[in-house]
Symmetry: C3
Subunit: 656 residues, 3 copies
């Protein structure tokens, strides 16, 4: 799929033929349309009219262009917002004003009914339209704060969700949440509050259920939309375009992905207000997260960028070749579709400053030519793109643990997505591919697992991790993992970490959160370990007692607590598990990753900084993210010269 | 006019005669009264009673004192706020509590009717009162956030305003705003929202119309008040006292000024919480802005200060002579009236810590004597004050462009009023007088125009600027000028800058916002230019292609964009136009101003730093803003000695 | 009293006997229960049931344990919050959500009635229960923002309060507040607003009355609760547990204390998010404040801590011995009861991360053993604890002056509680005991008084201070004291300081607030003064004219104001008064305190830094707050060795 995001409704009709001709000349085979165009499809309640898009699709098809069609539910029309109260609410109860996007609440019955009506009508209307090769649901579920809402419809829905979860038994809820604390026993589900502002803080178990409910709100909305489309158009290919930052939102994208045939990803390495684009590793982190959603699902970049982007604050102009490189990076890391946002910069509306393939001046320029080149390149390497992305490492993602850390941050420095990106980056620097995988999925096929602060203890996951180690896997477990039960409570009468002590071989004797990155010293205490003799650490301090057979690699240097371990290692069955009790400094992080990679027997290829190497079958991509030329020595290739932001496909290197 | 702000209602009646006697002894000829005294005039709905002020005026007139009388509409009484909902609303919908000032919304019909009633009654009551020499409307329209309101009455009024603007045709609105973007087409004006908090951001054209409506709300309220007074008292002299910071508010004071016979200005060089007073150039900037409002209108300082000022946080005590110097500076720059805030510090109410000419202790002290000296000085130089202020330079102010930058700031460093003050300061340092003039006014009489970031393109203004250059004028145009149309949209099929390329001789090939002041290097590339060989720049980067006949003075040093110009110059007709694509460092700013001044043939007088020289006809003011004595060498005068905060009138210097 | 905070309702019944046995083994004689358990006592409206606590008390008594029973009013049950609107409101009008604590407003009639009902029922039920040795009212009145509320019931109550204060005469209110300013005259009490958000700021006299009303709301609620308990259980011992930070809240704890037989104090030297515990002097400041409340009332530490504490952010783990030392410090400074929060860490609810004597793992560990040792130590020194705490110095606390500084902060650096702590700390470093005493209490028995920024002038207090000096006392008065009248207005026709010039011997000629700590220089100008020749000062600058017989110790160095004094000293009768016009640097602070101590003839004992010496009768505590061992030389004792966080009881030293 090589496409452009084209919004024909935003331009005079007479431009369309020229536009489509130029889109074809660009090398595209697809246009993405329909999202956000509800009023055009239903200008008044029940008055459906798809004739505009009939015309667009006909013109596209006559040129051989396929269509990806989006449901318009992200932006309900003004008449609907006027007729009914469909507005979602900020935490303080203020309604979100009509005039932005995603301002309606999916739990609002009037909105949801209108969504079902328009989506069903739309899908039914195009039931036999072969030109539509995929259906996009809504747009960027939960982005920009749309994951949160505190409206009365959410209160009703939350209480229904709780009734379902607790089988209608309010005493089960009271028991599970421990509402006897602070006299919060509920006599009825209808007494349960939303976690709006209060004095001090709400019950942590309520808050976890609230965030699970928030996620379910969107994943169920996605599932409903998928069902509506599939029922009206059997066999429809269902896609959703996820935004960036997905690991920090109140929605578990791994759940949403279960309703999809294709993962779409809007890949914005730079956005308004950023001084510079994200570093290559962070762009890769987003791609690797998307690729890990419901693994095996095809991945499309639904919004690749060429120009500067932003709403009210604009920013960095990608340098010539730079945005093209980001596109190639996405292909290298698994994308099989590439669609540019957007064909032409809008002249009106909130996104005027999102520059497109061509600008509002409507002239063919540098960016048009760059996209044409990328498309040509992509067409030439289709066999390479069919090779699987082979990742020996997985970082486990756990929506509930992440939610738990948001509810109780414990250390003001704690940021789970950032920590995941930190460890991902260490592998990226070694050109080792990593999948970000939901803990609920099967991870037995990896060689190495990173478990970042998985504070909630799912017994099944704990067991599967033990099995993984026994079977020969390597695991790194980060501090405060397995410290709480599944309901966000502490466990009575048990020591930490819960359910994993057998294979981790440690017990947490004392623990404290630390409000700095560099708070204490660590001393190496194992001859078998080649890492630095001393290191610094912070953020948290799990003080560990090592069990028999557990090797202590570092201890905390402390006048009062001299005996506690900071980093341990234990062999179980054929595998090995590490427990890291604090966040160490960069040098020790590097040493830990080196040890993990060696233990897991993972080969890798070394490249200069900011040169990315990605193997795909017998071939490999080499990508130069620098703004200057670079020479890269690779075994069997000699010196490869790469231009600024240059890239090449080479024969894959036999890595050490 | 030499006056004091006297609030006789705030004191026991028995003090009034003594107070007025001392006011006369001070050398004052006027008292300013009435503002904020609504309850005294109408203690219950419809129960008007002006007897208190009858008495005050009689006592004043018996001593030869004139009266400036203020309408009391800034502070409606509690009974009105209790009877009706007249409260304006913060952006989140919260009502502004009774108990401050300006808490009623001028779009609220009950408030407006009560205003009309009390103002008409008041003016009619004093229809024949010769002692009232001027009428002040309200107080500081739009100050302290009173320019914004999000109440339901504003929603009604905004929609009426839009109906008027679009001739009742909702499709014209949809078309103009481009509401097809994000499915925001309105079927009726009543569906249009206020730009309250939403997800992401509102339509930029809606927001521009909202800010135009905000401005019209206040300028129409001012016009109504002026009409009410004039109808009841034919021939009334109408004044309004503007606050500082006028270029950053949601009201175009140039519009308000059209209803006025006298511009009043409340001149606060220091306010609570400031560690130090504003520098002299910034005080001058405020004065020059006021003098430029509806040019030719007389200017009074309605609130000159002597003591420390502040509401809850107080601050810097002006040093002996310092506040007096600020008064003389105002006279030098065009004020013909001088009224001190306030005669005596209040003992009660929110402004207790605004120190007056005398303090709550009611003793004559240093500040009383300083005011007496200033009045005496002012009386002695009346012929000088009659000479016009002659400014060869104008900086154009454009409310809509400023609003546009607020709506879409683009670079986080962008602050148009601060940029205007920056360039004004460079002229001030050279003792060159500058008017701040609304772009809609006739600017053909100036020699040099500075056009700061005039992003909205008014075709008439664009034409008049072209004519100005052809006729021999010099113009400096700053980056991002003429980038949008009048509705805050981009132009389709056109390159930037719009409508001005002929005489600017440049095209913007690429552009990017930059989030720092010092981001890139500029290289001089014209032998004819004597500015620095290299400079640094930031904030924005318009990358310019110079047309034939356009001289490139600096280029950006950039590995990818080596050919784009940063500063250009072009002769057209008898004049010359500069385009500056970024904000350069201070040295290059100085070089640009030197070049502009030379091109425009503007003579100026050099003085030591912080010594201000202002010519008025054959005479000139020399003002020492330093806290230490200074010697100033001026051609034909030799060494002039100025005491700390000292000033003198001298024969004007023949400037080079 | 040696107790633990035990929440038996939070645990399975079958744990209780073991728990109580271990509590007895710990050396405790008391359990504190009942607070927060409303729903358990009244699971539905009017359905009272105390059987759970009957059982708890029976089991406790059977082991010889006494009971402190708390009224449960801090956490009304969900059924009540659902039946009626009892929620208090944030300043913006948003209701505080059920789900935290203290979210009901004591001015809400339905809540107050329900409180009276449950408290009376509870006290009546246990009218003859000898095991209950004290009754705790609510929990931490006014903590965490519960001192503020802006609900409609508060509006009604505030107006009633004003009617009472002004004898129903609205003109007295208008006159007192000066409502003529900004036309704020009220025709009726019902027109008076709450000081909700407005434009600029509310009338300062209204705001002072508002903060007095806020305080009265809580002190009257406390008095009511005390009355309900005493009426139902004659002879009940009434206690309330105050939180930290009491001098910064909108409630005058000295007023609340008048209803109490015992002062309880929840002593948290460290809380979530703090990198380190409070320094010893600040912990002492809190204790000395509590001990000063209604002097002579016994003081209990109701919540002493052992482990790390925090809600959502956790933090510092007290080192071995450190929390025990804090307990001993509290005993040294006057506590006669010691109750630990909490017996066992909760597994559920908002306070999971408040670690207890034992953790959720239910194992006896280090902290259990430390508490046992403290209890043993305390039992062994009971005669020492019976000796009075003898403080020669008092720092005066004045709720209204503090409120006044909050209303009008004047300098952004002004923080009265922090300033009180600053001066307290200087005495603490000298091992001189200080009481924090409400200005309204009898302070004639002290030798030295510190008067920190007592801006409101109570004529009685002013007189009593004068008498104190005449009788031989030493007084230090800090800048801006006696600058306003009792209603938060300025005085007409008077110079500052009000009513105290006779014995202070100074007049404030000019004054300015200063927005930095280090703004100007001070020069010594008295031979008799041995302090530093020069010093620096800031925050404020009262420029003083010294009267005849007043010694000027320092002047401000200033080009314009060279003659004004900064620090003066005057003998009156047998005593001496200092006036300090600014906040001087640390060196001069030390010199001032040395002079005061010498003048007042106060002996003291020198110890190394962070070693605290507290005399109690013939004995003394020596406490080492360092994490390392220290040797302390004391006259008559030679070198005393103290372990890290170690302490000893020694024979009292004869101080110099």
């Amino acid at each position: 799929m090589r496409g452009v995001d084209y919004y024909p409704e935003q331009w005079p009709l007479e431009l369309m033929d020229d536009d489509l001709d130029r889109i074809v000349e660009l090398g595209a085979d697809t246009i993405r349309i329909g999202e956000f165009a509800w009023h055009l499809m239903e200008p008044a309640h029940g008055a459906y009219d798809f004739s505009f898009f009939d015309d667009v699709i006909a013109r596209a098809r006559s040129r051989g262009l396929d269509v990806v069609f989006g449901t318009p539910t992200a932006t309900p029309p003004a008449w609907l917002a006027t007729e009914c109260d469909i507005a979602s609410r900020f935490a303080d109860g203020t309604a979100r004003s009509f005039g932005g996007r995603h301002t309606a609440c999916p739990n609002q019955p009037d909105y949801r009914q209108a969504c079902e009506d328009v989506v069903r009508r739309l899908a039914a209307h195009y039931r036999h339209e072969a030109g539509i090769v995929a259906w996009q649901l809504d747009n960027e579920f939960g982005h920009e704060g749309a994951d949160d809402c505190f409206c009365d419809a959410c209160a009703v829905a939350f209480r229904a969700w709780l009734r379902e979860r607790f089988g209608g038994d309010i005493e089960r809820l009271n028991d599970t949440w421990g509402t006897v604390f602070w006299s919060q026993q509920y006599n009825d589900f209808d007494e349960v509050p939303l976690p709006r502002a209060t004095i001090t803080t709400h019950n942590p178990a309520l808050r976890l259920d609230w965030l699970r409910f928030r996620s379910d709100t969107l994943s169920r909305f996605a599932a409903d939309q998928a069902r509506w489309v599939r029922e009206e158009r059997p066999g429809a290919v269902i896609m959703h375009d996820f935004p960036g930052g997905g690991l920090a939102k109140h929605v578990d994208y791994a759940d949403v992905a279960k309703s999809l045939d294709v993962i779409g990803y809007n890949n914005y390495p730079v956005w308004g207000g950023q001084k510079e684009p994200l570093p290559p590793a962070e762009i890769a982190f987003g791609l690797d997260h998307m690729r890990g959603l419901n693994r095996g699902t095809p991945l499309w970049i639904t919004e690749a960028i060429m120009g500067a982007q932003g709403h009210d604050v604009t920013g960095f102009l990608p340098r010539p070749g730079q945005a093209a490189l980001w596109s190639v990076q996405a292909l290298a890391r698994g994308a099989t579709g590439l669609c540019y946002f957007r064909y032409r910069q809008a002249t009106k509306g909130a996104e005027q400053f999102c520059y497109g393939i061509i600008d509002a001046d409507n002239r063919v320029g540098r960016r048009y030519r760059e996209v044409r080149d990328v498309f040509e390149f992509a067409r030439g390497i289709e066999p390479v793109l069919e090779a699987p992305v082979d990742a020996p490492v997985a970082i486990l993602a756990d929506y509930r643990s992440r939610a738990c850390w948001e509810i109780q941050q414990q250390s003001i420095l704690m940021d789970v997505p950032a920590e995941m990106a930190r460890w991902h980056g260490l592998f990226h620097a070694r050109n080792i591919m990593v999948d970000i995988v939901a803990a609920g999925e099967d991870f037995s096929g990896y060689r190495l697992l990173v478990v970042p602060h998985m504070i909630l203890t799912d017994p099944t996951v704990a067991d599967r991790l033990g099995d993984f180690v026994s079977a020969g896997g390597t695991v790194l477990v980060m501090f405060r993992s397995f410290a709480k039960d599944e309901d966000n409570n502490l466990a009575f009468g048990a020591t930490l970490p819960l359910l994993t002590q057998e294979w981790l071989g440690v017990e947490v004797a004392e623990t404290e959160s630390v409000q700095s990155l560099d708070e204490f010293c660590l001393d190496r205490c194992a001859d078998s370990w080649s890492g630095p003799a001393q290191a610094r650490g912070g953020v948290f301090r799990d003080m560990l007692t090592a069990g028999k057979g557990t090797e202590v690699l570092y201890r905390y240097r402390d006048e009062f607590f001299p005996d506690y371990a900071a980093l341990t290692r234990r062999n179980t069955g054929k595998g090995r598990a590490y427990y890291l009790g604090c966040l160490p400094d960069r040098d020790l992080q590097e040493a830990v990753v080196d040890a993990l990679v060696a233990d897991a027997g993972i080969a890798h290829v070394e490249t200069p900084e900011d040169v990315e190497y990605v193997r795909r079958g017998e071939k490999a991509f080499v990508l130069n993210h620098r703004s200057s030329a670079v020479t890269c020595d690779l075994p069997g290739h000699g010196a490869i010269e790469l231009a600024p932001f240059g890239y090449e496909i080479i024969e894959a290197v036999d890595a050490d």
